[in-house]
Amino acid sequence: MDIREIEAAIEGILFASGEPVPVERLAEVLGQDRQVIVDVAARLADTYASNRRGIRLIKLENSFQLCSSPELADVIRCALDARKPPQLSQTALEVLAIIAYFQPTTKAYVEQMRGIDSSYTVNSLLEKGLIEPCGKLKVPGRPTLYRTTKSFLRSFGLSSLKELPSLPDTGKSEGQLEIQNAINALMEKEEAEKPREVT
C-alpha cells in the first residue's frame, strides 16, 4: 500500500463514518503503523486546508474526523435547512435495538447476535450518549454491561423502556425464549451470589 492509497483509504473511511475514528482503528484496518496514519492524515488535512476545499480533517484526541469547512457553515445551513434530522445507520440501529431489548447486556452478546464485530458501533453509541456502561458481568473476563440512557428514551420518544414496541412472534420464538431464559438464569445466579454493583 503506497502513501497515496493509504491517504485515499483514510479519506474514504473518515467520509463514510462521518464521526471521529480512532487512529488505532485506522492503523489496524489498514495494517499500518500508528505513526504512518498520523503522518498521512496530517498531509491530507494540509491539502484540504491549503487548497481551501469544502472539507476539513480535524484531530480530536486520538481520533480523526472529516467535517465540512467552517467558513461554509452559513451556505450549508441555508442549503440544508429543510432537511430531515440525521438518521442512525442500520448498523447503529441494530446494535442499539439489541441493547435496548436485552439490557443490561454485553458487547459479546451483541456480536453473537449480529455475527460480526461491533466494537466500533458500540463505542460510537457510547459517544452519542445513547448507551452507557452499568457494571461488569461476573464471568471470566468481566465484560462490561451496557444499558440505554435517558437521552435514548428522549430521542425515541419513549417515557419508559416498557413502551418499546413488543416483538411479534417471529416463528423463532422458541429460540428467543431459550435465550431470554438463559439470560434470566444467569442474572439470577449472579444476583444470588453477590449484590449487583449498580442498581
Binding site: 463514510a16 465540512s68 430531515k84 447476535m113 464471568v139 471470566p140 428522549r154 418499546l164 431459550e178
Partner: protein, 250 residues
C-alpha cells in the same frame, strides 16, 4: 368471555346419534376443511340468526370476539359461495379458463423481457454496491444527542437481526454472553507429556505449546513442563532458540 356456540341441525351424516352439531365456529370450520361435515348442509341464515341472538345477549360486546366471528363467517360464506357457483355455471368457468390461459400465455411470452431486465440489474448491482454514503452532518454540535427517531425503527432493526438466516438461535442460546470456561487440568497435561516423551524421546517446547488448542491448555502445558522439570522427570535439551524436553531415565 365465552365464545358463541352454534347449533347446526342434521349436518353430520351417518354417524348415528351425532346428527346435530354444537360448537364454536372455529370447530365447524375445522370439520368442514376435513370434510367431516357437508358444506351443503350448513345453513348460513341459521348461523346468522344464532349470532344475532348472541349479540343481543351480550350487552357489552368484546370487539375481538365479534371480529373473529366476522372473519370465520365470511370464510364460511366464501366456501359456500364457491360451492354454489361452481355447480351450474359451465359458461363462466369456460370463459374463466380461457382468460386464465391468456394471462398465462402473456406471462410466458413477457417473461424473457423481465428476465433480461433482471439480469441487467444483477450486473449493475456489482458496480453499484460499493458506493457507501454517509449520514448527514449535524448542523449544531451539541454534547447532548438531540435528534429524534421513531421507536418502530428499533423494532425493525431487531427483527432484521433476528430474521437473519445464518443466526442459529439454539447454538446461540448455549454460548450466550459469556465465554465458556475451559480449564485444562495440569495433571492431565502432565500425563500427556510423559506419554508423548516415552514414545518420541525428545519434543520441542515450541511444538508442545503450538499443539495446545486453548489459552488454558497453553498455561497447563507451561506449568506441567515446569513441574516435571522440577521433579526431575524431564530435562531440557537443545539450544535457546530450539529448546526441547526429553524424558529423564532415572
Amino acid at each position: 368471555m365465552e365464545n358463541p356456540k352454534f347449533k347446526l341441525e342434521g349436518i353430520v351424516k351417518s354417524k348415528g346419534d351425532m346428527e346435530d352439531f354444537e360448537g364454536p365456529l372455529a370447530l365447524i370450520l375445522l370439520l368442514l376443511s376435513k370434510n367431516k361435515i357437508e358444506i351443503r348442509d350448513v345453513q348460513i341464515s341459521l348461523i346468522l340468526d344464532q349470532y344475532l341472538e348472541y349479540l343481543d345477549e351480550m350487552k357489552k360486546m368484546d370487539l375481538e370476539i365479534a371480529s373473529e366471528f366476522v372473519a370465520m363467517a365470511s370464510h364460511l360464506t366464501y366456501i359456500k359461495t364457491k360451492m354454489l357457483l361452481s355447480e351450474n355455471d359451465e359458461e363462466i368457468s369456460e370463459l374463466e379458463s380461457l382468460m386464465l390461459s391468456l394471462e398465462e400465455l402473456q406471462r410466458r411470452e413477457e417473461y424473457p423481457k423481465i428476465k433480461f431486465a433482471a439480469e441487467f440489474l444483477a450486473a449493475c448491482r456489482t458496480c453499484g454496491e460499493g458506493y457507501i454514503t454517509k449520514a448527514p452532518e449535524p448542523l449544531v454540535r451539541d454534547s447532548e444527542y438531540g435528534y429524534s427517531h421513531k421507536k418502530e425503527d428499533l423494532e425493525l432493526a431487531l427483527l432484521s437481526v433476528l430474521g437473519r438466516e445464518e443466526l442459529d438461535m439454539r447454538a446461540f442460546a448455549k454460548t450466550l454472553m459469556m465465554p465458556e470456561k475451559i480449564t485444562y487440568p495440569v495433571s492431565l497435561k502432565t500425563e500427556e507429556i510423559i506419554k508423548l516423551l516415552k514414545n518420541r524421546g525428545t519434543v520441542g517446547v515450541r511444538e508442545l505449546l503450538l499443539e495446545s488448542r486453548s489459552r488454558t491448555e497453553i498455561i497447563a502445558t507451561f506449568v506441567a513442563v515446569l513441574e516435571l522439570c522440577k521433579m526431575g522427570s524431564i530435562i531440557f535439551v537443545g539450544t535457546d532458540e530450539n529448546l526441547s524436553v526429553s524424558y529423564a531415565e532415572n
